[in-house]
Subunit: 355 residues, 5 copies
């Protein structure tokens, strides 16, 4: 879950634009899916590497190239020279610690954002960087190659001939991809919300240090998610208000819708965060309550038994001349005295509302 970039320093001193993969190397090889479609036709191919430039069909055929896995730097170089992409963009695609952003290069747009997944076993958040380059009649998307493919529903949807997606340009495809990613945030948030409620139950039943650690861990995950989603808000609103010719005005309302979803994700995040803060406060104040309880018991015990022990100690002294010891009813009298002291202390404690 660490968002602390550990590898960027490797590049210190290299010229800007030098291609080098930054981030944990994800397992698995590179897989390239190419889909070409227009309203009437759809062709689907898969490659393992990219040795020559794909001949792009003329408009309105849209070419979608999905590159899954960033280990083959030469695929990126190939792509860069075929499509005339700026070296800094290629560098950013490989540096998987980018902040979500959208950049307009006139001929093409570059969008980078984060997919988030919650590992059900380790309960860790995993993030995967998705880079999208969109041009006049093509869209190229890059994933880091983690397991699972969020884009599958889009692919299925594309195969439906009546889908609106088939009639529109690559900007609409961009929206579909972003939409699927943002919708996935809701999935992650729902799982997190369930866990938050589990923790809340623990907090009421039997709060332990583990509960506290769990709360802090979730807070950090919230922070991590917030950092991934917060800049996305600006990215989407930037695309929406963009004057780029690559974004068709008709996409505006869909992007507005996407923007609303992003804001909702942030709202839910904030609600969860607030819940966790409240849980933390409750944990701490219940800890202080328990301390109070414990101390009260200690004080009650001490308040009652210390005076009693003093009295019995008194009559345990070995003085030769202690008249009480010789009295016939000395012992019962002392027992009465002890009962009186104990009772008085109990009354005092009760008046103090400790029991």
């Amino acid at each position: 879950m660490s968002s602390l970039n550990r590898q960027r320093s490797k590049k210190t001193g290299l010229a800007p634009g030098t291609l080098m993969h930054i981030g944990r190397q994800k397992p698995g090889s590179t897989r390239i899916d190419v889909v070409e479609y227009d309203a009437s036709r759809l062709e689907d191919r898969r490659f393992d590497s990219l040795t020559e430039c794909l001949v792009r069909k003329p408009s309105p055929v849209v070419t979608w190239i999905n590159v899954d896995g960033l280990s083959q730097v030469e695929v990126l170089q190939q792509f860069g020279s075929c499509y005339g992409i700026h070296p800094l963009v290629l560098e950013d695609i490989l540096a998987t610690d980018q902040r979500p952003k959208a950049q307009d290069f006139g001929e093409y747009l570059y969008v980078v954002l984060k997919m988030i997944a919650l590992d059900d076993k380790t309960r860790e958040l995993k993030s995967e960087q998705v880079s999208i380059v969109i041009g006049g009649n093509y869209l190229v998307s890059f994933q880091e190659g983690l397991e699972g493919d969020l884009f599958e529903p889009v692919r299925v949807h594309l195969k439906n001939e009546k889908a609106r997606l088939r009639l529109m340009g690559p900007d609409f495809l961009l929206h579909a991809l972003l939409d699927v990613i943002v919708d996935n945030y809701f999935l992650v948030l729902e799982k997190l919300a369930e866990r938050a409620e589990d923790i809340e139950d623990q907090l009421i039943d039997n709060p332990t240090t583990a509960t506290l650690n769990e709360i802090y861990r979730m807070r950090r995950q919230m922070f991590f998610l917030h950092k991934a989603v917060w800049p996305l808000r600006e990215v989407v609103s930037g695309l929406q208000r963009s004057d780029s010719q690559l974004i068709h005005p008709a996409s505006g309302i869909y992007l507005k819708d996407l923007y609303d979803h992003t804001v909702q994700v942030l709202d839910t995040l904030e609600t969860l965060r607030d819940m966790l803060t409240g849980m933390l406060d409750i944990y701490l104040s219940s800890a202080s309550n328990r301390l109070n309880e414990v101390m009260k018991v200690l004080t009650i015990i001490a308040t009652i038994f210390m005076p009693l022990s003093f009295v019995v100690g008194l009559y345990g002294m070995n003085f030769r001349y202690m008249p009480e010891l010789q009295w016939r009813f000395g012992y019962p009298a002392v027992l009465l005295l002890l009962a009186a002291i104990g009772g008085g202390m109990l009354l005092y404690i009760r008046r103090k509302r400790w029991i």
Copy 2:
């Protein structure tokens, strides 16, 4: 009261614009009320479903359709095709986890906001989403179909022939509906303020963990309310400054008035929130005070009786040669010593201002 969306993820992967009800299914069937009115005439009808397009009367007759209950998706579809409403709007009407917002589609405006009710028994806040679509001479409002109908006073008011409402267009009706919703916030806030005062009394009389939980619960309700009302501020000020032809300039001052009320709601919320924070602080510092009190008692008891017990223990030793034990006035002397020690300790404690 949960504002954590639990169902949005169901839609992951579906094409945008797919109609699907998101949110807890509210009980009860759909009810459709249609009111047509102008300055001189008012007609009132009720339907259970919408099978064909309502023939709209020409201006200045205003048609108000109030749909109570969102379970019949086909009503929405019917409405959408009759009035030419964008599918994303229909989707938003069904997704009952929207953030309050206003969108201008030229031909019509879409406004969504939250009604809030406080359940007197469970003390939970319930929220109901209200969507309003307003066109040239019609207004369609959608409620989730919870019990109670806030719009009743507007209906009554409409029947009054001299009401200003009868002379104006649907924008004025919009204002009347929003006004009634915002006024209702005051009602909820007053109930909450009463409860806050109850809690404050508890805090002074006998603060318990239940009091603390109650404070946290109210704080969360404040948070929930704030999230519902805060975006409304922008919605109303957006409508007011709108250049849409659907909002008549004469409504401006009424919307300004509504805006002032919204700000007042937020102000009251903030005051309540501040009150709760203060109560929390008082709770915590009074808990720490009580700990101090308890510890003082313990320390006083221990300070007095430990030395005394030591002395009586001393003379309880069984040494053969302990001259004091044989003294004629050994016992009274020890009693005097004990009184001196006890008194000295009391003086010390008093000098420390513990009692």
Copy 3:
């Protein structure tokens, strides 16, 4: 001092513009003072009710009507129809829970703000709403009718023929009224500052729970004051930058001066607030210090006397064969041992810097 509106909900469902007094009914009847003046002449009359429209003198005679007491709704209605005031303004004048604001209606300006008084006995802040409507050659001010009249100095000042006030229009009179209200804030703040210093002295001498409650109460008063003064800042700066013809450019510098005073009030408020926060911190940390002190005493006592009590208990055992008990110098030896243990413990405690 409560700023929680308890009566606004009464109006739920009524048409906007319905006149109804909101707020605590202040005692006393309505009093109407009418002053007409120009550079050379001043006429002063008092009424108990307003039955007909006052015939306004032509410019440059300025008419100042001061209405003290809002119980007679018909006075307002009369005024509204005579001067052509919008019903929403009349409604706002009666609703005494307004946020300070200024509204420009072209023909007239509406300004609403708060007078604050500190009751010397109950130490509560009382607030009175002041509404001012200013037109071409008239100014009408409404007060809630509490005891005391802040406007008296203005009236006295007006009677001075050489006063600048006599030469200028109603905008200058507006400035004079606002100035007197803002100056009064300083008075209240000075009293509060004195009390804050009293509390500070208590904090050093003998802090009790009462001190704590006093601090929280003052903090709430600060909050209350802040809410009354903060929007005033915008009101005054709005008037100053206003392009209304009712505000003469020559008043600009006076309004700027007033603005500076308002900012100064807020600055002083902030300083007081910061002082109170610091006092709270000191209270809490001194409470924790006292706990530490108490616990130290307890621990010192226990550390010294528990081992001692063990030793004397040891020689209080009744074993038949305990050689030490028979020793000639057993008792003095044990006394030495006890002194050694006690001294050693004292040394240990001193090394720990507890005493």
Copy 4:
């Protein structure tokens, strides 16, 4: 150090523009220094009062009048009428609780700011208000007349014929005066930083309540300084971006430089503030650490000696039939038992990592 205005209320009800000294009356009489200079000539005179208007030399001769002491209101009146200064400006010069600000009156500029001095003995911050009125070829500065004169270096500098100051107009003199005041803030900050380090050393060596009070006191001083310097930032940037003809474009870069210094002062303030907050946190958590330490010792002592005391008490009972008491090796056996219990408790405590 109090920034709570205690005297402004005196003016309540007076007409704006009434001259009255607000603030603590500073000791000493008024002293007026008049310097007239151009590139080639410099004349220096001192007056005790101002009975007639000073005949101003034509440009490029610059006249600098420095008034030290505000007790003679008539000096101000004289000055006001000679130079045509607005009464509100004169009022502001006397009211020594102004917030730093700059006002452009076309013919002249009015700048007011604060000099700060740290009294080495009482360790209190003292503030002195400096008002500067700058016209076409004159500059009049007003000080409250405290001991010490910050402007001395400027006077010395002026006497140097080659100084840039001699060639430029009064705006450059204004810059020189402001520069000397801002530089003085650094001096004060350095002294405060030294004290902060002293306190930090105390915190490590031997933190007491006095340390805590010292921290709070410094925090308040930071707050006080911040209030004096923060508005200055806007004042300087306002002068820099001013379109007044009185500020020569060539001064722009010098004012930018001054602005940078002001920001640096604020930065240093913030750093010091952060340092103090950290020190406060350390104090509080070290207090809680010490409580932990104390409680551990108490618990260790009690855990070891309570069971031991019980055992010796047991064999101190006087039952007739207690076989152990008669045993030959009963006493050594009990001693062994006691050692075992004590040792076991020690092991337990060690396992808990308390010692």
Copy 5:
């Protein structure tokens, strides 16, 4: 690491523009490296002082002068008069407590920022001020002369004839230098992140006061870094949006890239800061947990042994007439009673969930 300027006050009263080194004097003498290059040629020279103006080659030859060490004020004066640099810029170069900023003087740009290094032994952050003046075909950089030279990679890179750097003007060289400095921040942050993880491990294993101090120290370092990097963001975005002719439009995208890196540094800083805050919270709440643990043990011990001691004390009394003492099975009965009391207390404690 101290960012508190200790020497600026030395300059109080001096005329602005007076050259004087402010800051800790760094050891070592001044070293001047001059590199002249264009696409085809590169010449590299080193000087110890600057006695005469370097004859600048005409465009497109770029002259880069790197001055390492600020002790020789005359080098700066020489440079100032040769290149026509404003005295205030020279002053700023020497004052090593500048806030990062960029200033456009038309003919040249002045950029100042901070290099940060983390001393591996003392774990202190060291900061070195870097000033860069860039003109039409030259760039002069000033370092304070600390050990290590971050610019070495740029020098190496320049020697590569195919480097893009060789084809571009001094603005590209500026970018290269800034890039190398920002990349170095990542290096520092990675080291800090490693230490933060070490501290986190300590926190789980065995938190001590040293851990706490370490956390506070890192927090201060974060604060220090933040102050160095935060203004840089504005500097870079200012350069990027600059309309200066000295910044070639083609550099825009590289500066945008640099800007993204700066934002990423700030993001990482924020993450680290948040981590530290969480660690602090965990430390404090685990301290309070341990207190609870300790108190529980104390209370358990006292709750069990105080009643037991009372009972044995009771039968240690020396009354003549105590029937139980004579009973045949008095002793075993008391033993049973003691076991019952002890067991009952244990049950009570277990019901309270203390063990």
